[in-house]
């Protein structure tokens, strides 16, 4: 049970537990430049929430154009000036909104806001550590994220506008200021901001990996770690190995833009100008981008999967089914995630044999995903389910993952992808499986761990309203888009009214926009709940309000610096001993009974 890996001194920060008594914390050192993982996680989530409002608002704005292409909205011109001349969003600005919506939500909200928050908050608490391996690097990880945020935010206000070539910023469009307004200074700011963001992610990821490998408490072998920690571990590995490749692509793009190099450029005539660049390949950028881009979607998905596994089990009062298979499938997904990137490039003209290789691997990755779904379903079978708001979102997560995951099978088959590439089928797929599903995982995590974060509960009625409107709304928005995609309706179009082939969806586009506005407004309800409950939420009065097994519930209700005031608990069992031997739940730090066999 105990093993060599836990030979380390678990009490290495023991003296720090008494730190608070001697160490006078100023406002700055407690709330601003904090090195406490719990405070840093709150910084991540609050920054993430702010970005989510901005990114969500952008989608409402561009859906206004998509849903009502023949209308004008004078108030838009009042707010946006020349970007909405005559009360109509201009095409260049529309594309900037689409680009920034994607960039903000993928990176700033669903990567930093999801991993940054929960990895920071949960890893030390669930493995029984006082803090991260390097609290200083952890603090820097947040502040690089903050710096990246400032730069990206400032790009929204430059005269030529922010990047507008899609969040995928393919060159030559993103390399040539002559090709698009958004490819002027806005693009340089985007690239520099992302470089800072990547530094933040790397610092965080390295910390998470070192902490999980080295600072587990006595008895917490890797095989006893909660699935949340496993998921966050693999997420960090994905990030550490793939983000640097995006950084290299971004740097080469900066060179092409500003230093006359030709990594991605060749044979170009733009605006009547014949460019001197020769020998470069735009496809090289796509390889570099998607080598991160694909693992990125798993960086977003895995934490949601890990947390949902946890929350489903706790609220079912049953072990998560197939712990070993769950860990194995996380591992398989992580490995395969690095081997499927060119399924985003099936129609670039790449060698068909290469394409076939990626089809094989892409459909292979469906297998561990399927295993997870069946294991979640079996967890619910013969359970005794409590429907907390967190549980609702976890169930919703499974539903959305099924829906979105299955459409991936259409797209991963290259012959079908020929027809479906860059259509609304793709938009429906990634929004359901990555956007909404991961958001549901994030919401489940927030509702479940809020008592630990703030010592108060989020209002449950608002939670239920939030859940129901969002899940119904999300399906109403994204389900019909599959049909638009099957008709070949392209994505990233400002207006479909001039197209005989696509204009018949005008009514549907309007309906989708209308629902989107309602769903966005509902998220504001959640934001309000979040901030209001910090100060006025119902106070938590029991140490373990959910009756869970994991170690974070063995700290005081408001854990201070160092998490446990005394010794860190020792671990004797896995995290999923629910309904075992007639006990409703057995926390990890309870020793095995005399005749008790180890679980799984």
């Amino acid at each position: 049970m105990s093993n060599a890996a836990t030979l380390h001194e678990t009490d290495v920060h023991g003296h720090d537990a008494h730190h608070e008594h001697h160490h006078h914390e100023t406002f700055i050192s407690k709330y601003v430049f904090s090195q406490d993982h719990k405070m840093i996680s709150k910084q991540f989530i609050i920054t993430g929430i702010i970005w989510a409002i901005i990114g969500g608002l952008f989608s409402v704005l561009f859906r206004l154009q998509l849903g009502y292409p023949d209308s004008t909205f004078p108030f838009l011109e009042d707010i946006l000036g020349h970007w909405a001349k005559g009360g109509k969003i201009q095409p260049e600005f529309y594309y900037a909104l689409v680009t920034m919506h994607g960039t903000i939500l993928v990176f700033f909200v669903l990567t930093a806001g999801l991993s940054g928050t929960f990895a920071n908050f949960l890893i030390p608490l669930q493995i029984g550590a006082r803090d991260m391996a390097s609290p200083m690097l952890n603090m820097l990880s947040y502040w690089f994220f903050f710096l990246a945020s400032i730069i990206m935010f400032s790009s929204l206000f430059v005269e030529t506008g922010p990047a507008a070539g899609g969040w995928t910023i393919y060159p030559p469009l993103s390399a040539l200021g002559d090709a698009s307004q958004g490819s002027k200074i806005g693009m340089d700011l985007w690239l520099v901001s992302m470089a800072m963001f990547i530094v933040s992610s790397l610092l965080g990821g390295l910390n998470y990996i070192s902490t999980i490998l080295n600072l587990r408490t006595k008895g917490m072998s890797m095989a006893k770690m909660p699935l949340t920690v496993w998921a966050l571990f693999f997420t960090a590995v994905l990030g550490v190995l793939s983000f640097p490749v995006l950084l290299s692509g971004a740097i080469l793009l900066l060179f092409d833009r500003n230093m006359g190099t030709s990594f991605f450029l060749s044979d170009i005539v733009i605006n009547g100008k014949i460019l001197p660049n020769e020998g470069g390949s735009p496809i090289l950028f796509q390889h570099l981008f998607w080598f991160l881009g694909h693992p990125e979607v798993y960086i977003i998905l895995l934490p949601a999967m890990g947390m949902s596994s946890e929350i489903l089990s706790v609220n079912s009062r049953k072990p998560i089914f197939g712990y070993k298979a769950m860990v194995g499938s996380l591992f398989a997904i992580t490995l395969l995630a690095f081997l499927v990137w060119a399924h985003h490039m099936f129609v670039t003209g790449l060698n068909p044999f290469l394409g076939a290789f990626f089809v094989l691997l892409t459909l292979l990755i469906a297998l561990p995903s399927a295993i997870k779904v069946f294991n979640w379903l079996t967890t619910l079978w013969r359970a005794n389910i409590r429907f907390t708001p967190a549980m609702m979102f976890a169930i919703g997560f499974v539903s959305l993952f099924i829906s979105g995951g299955l459409t991936g099978i259409f797209l991963g088959n290259s012959a079908l992808d020929i027809h479906l590439h860059d259509t609304y089928f793709v938009v429906a797929h990634f929004h359901i499986v990555m956007g909404v599903a991961s958001f549901f995982g994030m919401f489940a995590g927030v509702y479940h761990w809020y008592p630990k974060m703030y010592g108060r509960y989020l209002n449950t009625t608002l939670g239920y309203i939030h859940f129901w409107i969002t899940i119904v709304g999300a399906y109403l928005i994204f389900w019909p888009m599959h049909y638009e995609g099957l008709a070949g309706m392209p994505r990233r179009y400002y207006d479909y009214t001039g197209w005989e082939s696509f204009k018949m969806f005008a009514g549907l586009n309007q309906f989708i926009s209308f629902v989107a506005m309602i769903v966005f407004a509902t998220q504001l309800l959640f934001v309000f709940n979040f901030f209001y409950s910090i100060f006025k939420g119902r106070k938590v009065t029991t140490q373990n309000p959910w009756g869970a097994n994991t170690l974070e519930w063995t700290t005081p209700i408001n854990p201070g610096h160092g998490n446990w005031p005394g010794e860190i608990p020792e671990v004797f069992r896995g995290a999923y001993d629910y309904a075992k031997d007639g006990h409703e739940f057995i926390p990890q730090n309870v020793p095995l009974g005399e005749n008790e066999t180890e679980s799984h």
């Binding site: 070539g165 090709a179 094989l360 079996t378 013969r382 359970a383 008709a487 018949m504 999923y576």
Partner: protein
């Protein structure tokens, strides 16, 4: 103003919802956490199964509304695209079955196993047999999909038939240009450094093969029933030739020519009848983000009967004869005198 009124109403709705939420919280505290939890469980379990049923009905309703608007009822307008439609149906069959089974189980289990006073959860932590079953069966289904999919993929991305008509397609911000090789069947050499106002495709008119090349913008004609191979270029950024009705698509990448081939099955006139839409048009949609005019980069393909196509082709003047009328021979196919007075814009 209506905007302020609108915002005020929204805020009021929010406030009302908030008050209701606060009130329910007080009520649940008064009633006792246990009772409140049980009632919430009952309500939400019911809502989950109601969501399932309404959701399934919604899926059928949505299908009724929109399946007709996808291109599938009409069938593929290209012979090769018929395989894509077949792939689609097989995939819908497989994934659809999985979808219904798993979603129904998810919501049904949630409802059936809601917390009850007399229920105890059943300890069931793992089963290697089950894991094996639901690894092997999905693997089998996926293998079927991969085998079919790759078979058609290699066909579509393979060599075009020998009798395919070749047409060069060039995308640029924000339109499409088409070049036909003329009677000699050979495209004149191009060099992007020769691009100019009068020579927008950068054709080297010193190459005699270019003298019968036909350049049209925006609309291209092809004959029905004969394979056509598109050789696709881009002049500036990445574009994409998207042919929804033909189920075909290929990126246009500056510096790297790509190809795409298919055999049209129906003339434009026939499609007007089949679709019941008198305005039916085969459209080329740009399917790769290319700038602010991306949504307006529309091309048109007119599929003619073989006779009409031949007639149309005969009526086209070669680009060379338009630019250098004095140098052009009246007979097509004869070698023209090399013109030394027209200088390329940039020296090589």
């Amino acid at each position: 103003m209506t905007a302020i009124l609108f915002v005020a109403i929204i805020v009021m709705i929010f406030v009302i919802i908030f008050q209701i939420a606060k009130a329910s919280e007080y009520v649940s505290v008064l009633r006792g956490e246990d009772k409140a939890r049980k009632q919430n469980n009952k309500i939400n379990a019911f809502l989950l199964v109601a969501f399932l049923i309404l959701g399934l009905i919604g899926i059928l309703y949505c299908n009724d509304l929109y399946y007709g608007k996808t291109l599938f009822p009409q069938g593929s307008a290209s012979k090769e695209g018929e395989k894509i439609d077949l792939m689609l149906y097989i995939t819908i069959g497989v994934t659809g079955t999985v979808f219904f089974i798993t979603q129904i189980l998810l919501f049904w289990f949630s409802f059936k196993y809601q917390e009850k006073d007399d229920r105890k959860a059943h300890y069931f932590a793992h089963s290697n047999k089950l894991e094996a079953i639901w690894t092997i069966f999905p693997a089998l289904f996926l293998t079927v999909l991969v085998v079919f999919g790759l078979k058609y993929w290699f066909k579509m991305t393979g060599e075009a038939p020998k009798d395919a008509i070749q047409i060069e397609v060039t995308g640029h911000q924000f339109g499409w240009e088409f070049r036909y090789p003329g009677a000699d069947g050979i495209f004149g050499v191009k060099n992007y450094k020769l691009t100019s106002g009068t020579d927008p495709l950068g054709v080297d008119f010193n190459d005699s093969a270019s003298h019968d090349d036909i350049h049209v913008g925006g609309t291209m004609h092809i004959p029905v029933g004969q394979p056509v191979k598109l050789i696709i270029n881009s002049q500036d950024v990445i574009h994409d030739v998207g042919l929804s009705q033909f189920r075909m698509k290929m990126d246009a990448v500056p510096g790297i020519p790509t190809t795409l081939w298919f055999t049209p099955l129906y003339t434009t006139a026939q499609m007007k009848e089949r679709s019941g839409n008198p305005d039916f048009t085969y459209e080329i949609s740009c399917d790769q983000m290319c700038g602010k005019g991306h949504f307006s980069m529309r091309g048109v393909i007119i599929v003619d009967t073989k006779e009409d196509y031949a007639k149309w082709l005969a009526q086209q003047k070669s680009e060379y004869s338009t630019l250098f009328p004095a140098k052009t021979d009246s007979l097509a196919g004869q070698k023209s005198v090399t013109d030394t007075t027209a200088k390329p814009l940039a020296s090589r």
